[in-house]
């Protein structure tokens, strides 16, 4: 429960600070902000790596590289999509889409059991995402 709360709050506050950047009138510095985000995130990650006496392995470098490239391609595509489509079309698709696709992947390939409660939670979450991303 602690880790999922951390994932929820960490991602939530990252989005809030991005919004705060625009509220401060610094929205035109997106590229510098993105570099700073990766740079400070890396320093923070190295500090945690050292503190926990963890070491980089070939497998972690391989997995981390693929994860980083997927994240970068996703963010690049979002910026490009926002150039031609309104945000209320882009965000429900790019946030709601992965919820459905990951659940479908786990159901078909990882044999994830979908109880009535889980299905209700996923559907509820999907509608919440649509409402929150299309609200003015």
């Amino acid at each position: 429960m602690f880790w999922i709360a951390l994932g929820f709050l960490g991602n939530g506050f990252a989005q809030f600070f991005q919004k705060y950047l625009h509220a401060l009138g610094l929205g035109s510095y997106q590229a510098v902000a993105l570099l700073l985000m990766y740079f400070v995130g890396l320093l923070f990650a190295i500090a945690l790596l050292k503190a926990n006496r963890a070491v980089l392995s070939r497998q972690s470098i391989w997995s981390g590289s693929l994860t980083a490239v997927a994240s970068y391609i996703g963010n690049y595509a979002v910026l490009q999509a926002l150039g031609t489509l309104p945000a209320h079309v882009v965000f429900p698709l790019i946030v709601g889409g992965p919820i459905l696709l990951v659940a479908a992947w786990q159901y078909f390939f990882d044999r994830l059991s979908l109880s009535t409660r889980r299905i209700a939670g996923l559907v509820c979450g999907l509608f919440a995402v649509i409402l929150l991303t299309t609200a003015d």
Partner: protein, 138 residues
């Protein structure tokens, strides 16, 4: 063209979550995964924006907010990775983390004194209901 980019983003974010899931099935250390992801992310974004980057006259506030985004994103990534490592299915983790959209909505109301619409309130109630349903079914 815009829809094509939306599909590309959807595919990339789906791959992002599935890759984290696979890495934890293979026992990759979460601290090392986090460090590598941010390291490679820095390299890729530097290479992509190097020619157009202009850091002259960057306001000091940007350094503070940019750093806060980096630390929050790092904690978020660790939360996702350790949740999967603890045995939660990535489909559940992904849904719960996607609902973090509620944080900027609430933060804007509390800290930036923005008004909230009925649609956002219903969205927040559904988000809370979704988290309740998902976290109670492991």
């Amino acid at each position: 063209m815009g829809l094509l980019f939306c599909l590309m983003a959807t595919g990339a974010f789906t791959a992002f979550f599935l890759l984290i899931d696979r890495s934890q099935q293979r026992g990759v250390d979460p601290w090392a995964l986090n460090a590598t992801t941010f390291g490679v992310g820095l390299l890729v974004s530097s290479a992509a924006s190097f020619s157009s980057l202009n850091i002259e006259g960057v306001p000091p506030a940007l350094f503070l907010v940019g750093s806060a985004i980096g630390i929050a994103a790092g904690l978020g990534m660790l939360g996702i990775t350790f949740s999967v490592r603890s045995g939660l299915p990535i489909a559940i983790v992904n849904t719960a983390v996607s609902l973090s959209l509620a944080v900027p909505v609430l933060g804007s109301v509390i800290l930036l004194n923005e008004s909230i619409t009925l649609q956002s309130v219903i969205g927040l109630v559904l988000a809370a209901g979704s988290i309740y349903l998902l976290q109670g079914d492991r």
